[in-house]
Symmetry: C2
Subunit: 240 residues, 2 copies
DNA sequence: AAGTGGTCTAGACCACTCT
DNA sequence: GAGTGGTCTAGACCACTTG
C-alpha cells in the first residue's frame, strides 16, 4: 500500500496508478479521500497528490468539485458514444421516435470470420431491426461473450440502449472502440427488412468495443439505410 | 506584457494564453524561453510557469525536451490526418502506389449549397481522380478560398498531398475538421471515372477543415469506390 | 561545467460547499 | 465554521543535454 520513494518511477505516477487500480477494482467507490488525507496516508506532499489526481481527471476517471470532494466520474455514455455509435442525419430533425424489433437471439457458434475478430468459439447473438416512427432504419447484429449475452437477454430487447444495461446493471465499463465504416449493396433479405430496393446502397459499420482491461465486450455489425443515416466525426489536432 | 495578479483569472491561465498568442502570431519562433527566465520575466513562481506550459503541451502546441528546452511542436500531419482523412483498407496491404490525375481546376461561383457551407461567393476548385497503381480509387473535389487556391494551383497537382504545401509553403496550420460519411449510388459520369458499374455503391465523404482561428481552409467532397476503401475510427472514453 | 526540464516538499491563502 | 479543492510561492535536488 505504500509508495516506493527509491523507485525510478515518479511518486505522482505511482500514486496515480495505485488510485486507478483501486477505483477500477471497486475498492474506492464514489468519492476518493480528501487530498490532505491522501497526503498523510502516503507521506507525500499535497502537490504530488494533486498531480496524481490531475492525471486521473484528464483520463476521464475522476472529477473534482470545489468545496465538496473528488468523485469517480461516470460520464454519461452519450458524451462519447454519441461520437462513436452513429449520427442520425434526419431522425432528430424530423422529431421521429426510435424503436427496435427483435429478430433473433441465442448462442451461436463462431464462423471463421467471427473467430478471427473475437477469439471466441461461441457468442451470444442479438439481431434487431432499428426503427424510427416504425420506418426501418438499420439492421443491427450484436455479438457478446456468452455469459454477458445471457444476462442481457433478460432485459427488454425492444429497447435500443443496451449500453446502459451493460454499465449500470452488469457493471461493465466500455472504454475503447474501433470501428470501420464501409458501403455495399444489400442482400435480398436485408433489402426486404429495410424496405428498400436491392439496388440502393447501404452503409456498413463494424465495431469492436472493449472494456478498460482490453477484453472484447461487444462486436457489432450494422447495416444502415443510406438515405436515413450518415456518420459524423469531429476531430481536432490536439486529440491524439 | 505583464500579468494581472488582481484578476480573477488564475495566473497560469493568463500566462498560458499569453504564450499561446505569441506562438500563434509567430512572435516566439522555435523555442520558448527557459522556465527560470519566464519566471523572472512575469514575476511568478516556477510552478506557475510550469503549469502554464503543461497546458500548452497537452493542447499539442508545445513539446519539452529534458535538458534542452521547450519547443514549439510541429506534429507530423499524418498523426492526426491519418485518423481523419481516410483509411485505406486494401492499398497498403497490396503495396500499391498512390497517384493522382487532375481533372479540372479554377475559380467557380458557389452554388447555394456551397454558399451555405463556406459562406463564400467564389471558391477555387480542384478536382482530381485518385489512383492506386493506376486503378481509380476516388474522385476528390476540393474547394478553397480563392486566394489560397490560386497559390496551391502553382504546385504539382498530380501529387496527392496538398496539406504539406498548405502548412510548409503557405504557413496555414490546419486545426479542426468535421466530416460526414455517407453512401449513395454514383452518377453515370462518376461510375465511368471510377471504372465501376452504376449499380455499385460508393462512399461519400464531406469534410470541412478549419485553421486555429476557425476560418474555413478547405471543403472536400470525395467519392470512394466501396470495394477499395473503408473508413476507420478509433475512439476512447478519455478523448472528449 | 552550466543550463535545462522533471520531481518534490512545506506552507500559505482563497473560494466554495456542506450542515 | 469546518472541510474541501484551487492557486501560488520559494526553494531544493535530480537527470539530462549541450558546449
Amino acid at each position: 500500500m505504500a509508495l516506493d520513494a527509491e523507485s525510478s518511477i515518479p511518486l505522482h505516477i505511482q500514486l496515480s496508478e495505485l488510485l486507478k487500480g483501486e477505483i477500477l477494482q471497486g475498492t474506492i467507490k464514489e468519492k476518493i479521500p480528501p487530498e490532505r488525507v491522501l497526503m498523510e496516508l502516503y507521506s507525500v506532499s499535497r502537490s504530488t497528490v494533486r498531480r496524481a489526481i490531475a492525471a486521473l481527471i484528464s483520463e476521464g476517471i475522476l472529477e473534482s468539485r470545489r468545496g465538496s470532494g473528488t468523485y469517480i466520474y461516470n460520464r454519461p455514455l452519450e458524451e462519447w458514444l454519441g461520437n462513436l455509435v452513429t449520427y442520425n442525419k434526419t431522425i432528430d430533425d424530423l422529431g421521429m421516435k426510435p424503436g427496435a424489433k427483435l429478430l433473433s437471439q441465442g448462442v451461436v457458434a463462431s464462423t471463421q470470420e467471427l473467430k478471427d475478430i473475437t477469439q471466441m468459439d461461441e457468442l451470444y447473438l442479438i439481431n434487431r431491426l432499428r426503427l424510427a416512427d416504425n420506418i426501418p432504419i438499420a439492421i443491427e447484429t450484436q455479438y457478446y461473450p456468452v455469459n454477458i449475452g445471457k444476462q442481457l437477454s433478460k432485459f427488454n430487447l425492444d429497447e435500443i440502449v443496451l449500453y446502459e444495461v451493460l454499465e449500470s446493471s452488469l457493471g461493465i465499463k466500455l472504454w475503447e472502440a474501433d470501428q470501420v465504416i464501409s458501403s455495399t449493396m444489400p442482400t435480398k433479405e436485408e433489402a426486404q427488412l429495410l424496405d428498400i430496393l436491392e439496388c440502393e446502397s447501404v452503409l456498413v459499420i463494424e465495431r469492436s468495443t472493449c472494456d478498460y482491461d482490453g477484453n472484447l465486450v461487444e462486436y457489432l455489425r450494422g447495416i444502415f439505410r443510406s438515405d436515413m443515416y450518415a456518420f459524423r466525426i469531429k476531430l481536432g489536432r490536439n486529440k491524439l
